[in-house]
């Protein structure tokens, strides 16, 4: 893989390996050394690595949009959440009777909504200016009424089916691995809609439009109970092949024997094995993505993208379709975000829409990309792993430090307030890291070639 590594500004070709080496040392310390800064448990280290790898994929997706094309997407959380819907729709068992009760109604309502939008766009294109506004508004209104008359009873019928356990359509019971590309497709479709409207306008309009789409997608997941049970959460999403369940491992005599031969009790052994398998699976996906991303970046297509990013006017004068290319790259990047979203949900094993916080899932990803080095795929991977590590550990270090500082403080409201607020310090730390990198090292840890 090292053949694709960019030549860095300082430290030459050894810069990237050195950085990744330092990162590995951090994870090693977390796994082995036990003091007030590191836990000394491999369980924790692997747990951080697991989500860190998904963060690296997210950072890669944002880097494709920002680093290759300069598109500022502030709706990462939305594309991630949409991708997370895929494991529910693909891998959960279907709810008995839900589809016959309301599934067709919902589908038909969706078709009506689509048809209405298409008709409105068609009319808008064909009619002359006088009639146009009224005709379009009329079509939209009629379409909306038809949609609601079909949609509302269908949803009610679905949600009436055993609401405490189901009350949603359920999935189609396919393996979780299939849902990952489906998540990418869902996010790509949403990106096409947003890109069609907001690209080609001023650059920060895209930032504001994506901020909106992010909020809306999360709101849909929170409220549409027929789809994924909303805030009631969907639990028990199956694990991806080849990851086993801990309880099954512990009952398997072959595994217990092998764990004991390594000097581990079956309990610890099973959790470690599960985490290692997740990590290997995610590394495989990340490797595939970075291979494809590097290939694309170094192809004529990648050169064209960078040319457009660096000077849109000149690229347009050379006959490049700037808006078209932007749309393409926006869809590609969002697809990667959707893939990561599906992976995250199949890791958690449950869909909890209230957990989609834009600070954590949009802006933290941005910190990863900027710190890693925008435009550099390996930089995004480094930034994703490093910033995730710091984010998790800063949540623990904050209270530890605050505890040390306030040991001599008298017990009272001030001390409790300081201790309670300490975990929030990591937001301040992230902000300061982002500001420092933007100011003093704008090209990041691993600069673009």
């Amino acid at each position: 893989m090292s053949t694709h590594q960019p030549k860095a500004a300082k430290g030459g070709k050894w810069r990237a390996p050195a950085m990744f080496g330092a990162l590995a040392v951090l994870f090693l310390l977390e796994g082995t050394v036990s003091n007030s800064f590191f836990s000394g448990h491999w369980d924790n280290a692997l747990g951080i690595l697991r989500v860190g790898l998904i963060s690296a994929i997210l950072a890669l997706g944002v880097n494709i949009q920002w680093g290759y094309a300069g598109l500022f997407n502030t709706g990462v959380v939305g594309f991630l959440a949409l991708g997370g819907l895929a494991p529910v729709l693909v891998s959960m068992p279907p709810t008995l009777g839900a589809f016959s009760a309301g599934g067709w109604g919902v589908l038909f309502a969706m078709v009506i909504a689509m048809a209405t939008l298409v008709a409105a766009v068609f009319l808008h294109g064909r009619l002359d200016t006088k009639l146009r506004g009224w005709a379009v508004a009329g079509v939209l209104l009629l379409g909306f009424i038809a949609y609601r008359t079909l949609f509302d009873p269908a949803v009610e019928a679905i949600q009436a089916i055993n609401p405490s356990a189901y009350g949603y359509l359920g999935g189609i019971g396919l393996p979780v691995l299939i849902s990952w590309p489906v998540g990418a497709l869902l996010a790509a479709a949403a990106a096409w809609v947003v890109g069609k409207t907001a690209l080609g306008l001023r650059s920060d309009y895209l930032a504001i439009a994506t901020l909106g789409i992010g909020e809306i997608i999360v709101a849909v997941l929170r409220n549409e109970e027929w789809l994924a049970r909303g805030v009631l959460n969907v639990n028990g999403i199956p694990r991806p092949w080849p990851v086993p369940y801990e309880t099954n491992l512990q009952q398997d005599p072959g595994f217990v024997a092998r764990a004991t031969s390594f000097g581990l009790d079956p309990m610890t052994g099973s959790t470690l094995l599960v985490k290692v398998l997740y990590c290997l699976l995610f590394v495989a996906v990340l490797g595939l993505l970075i291979w494809a991303a590097q290939l694309a970046l170094n192809s004529p297509w990648g050169r064209m993208m960078r040319a457009i990013r660096d000077n849109e006017v000149a690229a347009a004068a050379m006959g490049k379709n700037v808006t078209g290319r932007h749309l393409q790259i926006f869809i590609l990047g969002s697809a990667v975000l959707g893939l990561a979203g599906a992976m995250l949900i199949s890791l958690d094993g449950q869909m909890t829409p209230s957990g989609y916080n834009p600070l954590r899932y949009t802006f933290l990803i941005w910190v990863m990309v900027i710190v890693g080095g925008s435009g550099n795929n390996w930089g995004s991977v480094l930034g994703g792993l490093l910033i995730w590590f710091v984010w998790i550990k800063a949540g623990e270090w904050g209270p530890t430090l605050m505890g040390m500082v306030s040991t001599h403080l008298a017990e009272g409201t001030l001390k409790t307030h300081l201790l309670d607020s300490a975990p929030h310090m990591r937001l301040v730390i992230m902000g300061l890291i982002l500001l420092a990198v933007l100011r003093f090292s704008p090209r990041g840890l691993l600069p673009e070639r």
Binding site: G70, D152, D204, I208, A219, L359, W366, G431, L434, L435
Partner: protein, 335 residues
Amino acid sequence: MDILNALVAILNYIIVPATAYGAQLALGALGVTLIYGILRFSNFAHGDTMAFGTGLTILVTWGLQSMGVSFGPLPTALLALPFGIALTAAMVLATDKVVYSYYRKVRAAPIYITMVSVGVMFVMNGLTRVLIGVDEIKFADGARFLISAADFKAATGLTEALAIRGSTAITVITAGLVVWALFWFLAKTRTGKSMRAYADNEDLALLSGIDPNRVVAVTWVIAAALATIAGTLYGLDKSFKAFNYFQLLLPIFAAAIVGGLGNPLGAIAGGFVIAFSEVSITYAWKKVAMYLIPGYEPEGLLQLLSTEYKFAVSFAILIIVLLFKPTGLFKGKSV
């Protein structure tokens, strides 16, 4: 009678709350639009500046309350507001000195400065949480109602009631005064004129001897004041929760863009357009329909969208304006 009842219901559930909300959005959007017009970037930290300023105001309010100070029928927070504004302005000026001034010097691209504002947003957000926590805080005191529902019913004999809360009236009056003062300042004073000149044409303004540092500093102070006032009024009207203020960023940006970024009058109009659309689209019209059409008993609530989707309304308006009138209803600038 039924028509009167319908009118009162519309007044009570749509016009009064939307006017208050619109005034709050307008103040927020004015801050965004001023920064955009003069400093030339979209400030993603504005929502958290609002939260920060409101948090400080609440702390001062608690301090005043514990000293036994009150403002009669008005909320004590209004007394604390000047302190909140001063502290927020100091914070924002320090941020400009440490962070933004460098990017003006090197003439960084607007999108890059927007990225920088994300860093500031993180810091502000974290500081607010450390300062005052993440829980919901209600800090309104003083008289609760200007017109209470029971009084209104007794006076008019209608079945529908109109209730105007004290915080609603205070919001509208304060917002009116602030907007008047801002427009007077921009139109009549020397500093205000130099700000408009700087927004119109930076190079020409510099040539004619306008001190850019002064313009920038005054802009930040005004933006901090607008953010703190908007945040405090929103908090008095509803409640304070740091995360809600972050989420206000979307309707505020939508208001500023709908009106035309960089155009103060547009920001106010945009604020009310967004607020009225949000409230009327998420309102359940069943009651009004039953008053207006005798003998009609609709099955549903006649609610176009549930309230959880109010952000979708701002977004839809934003997209419609972007598609058909990218410079906004009032002519904004496009950098």
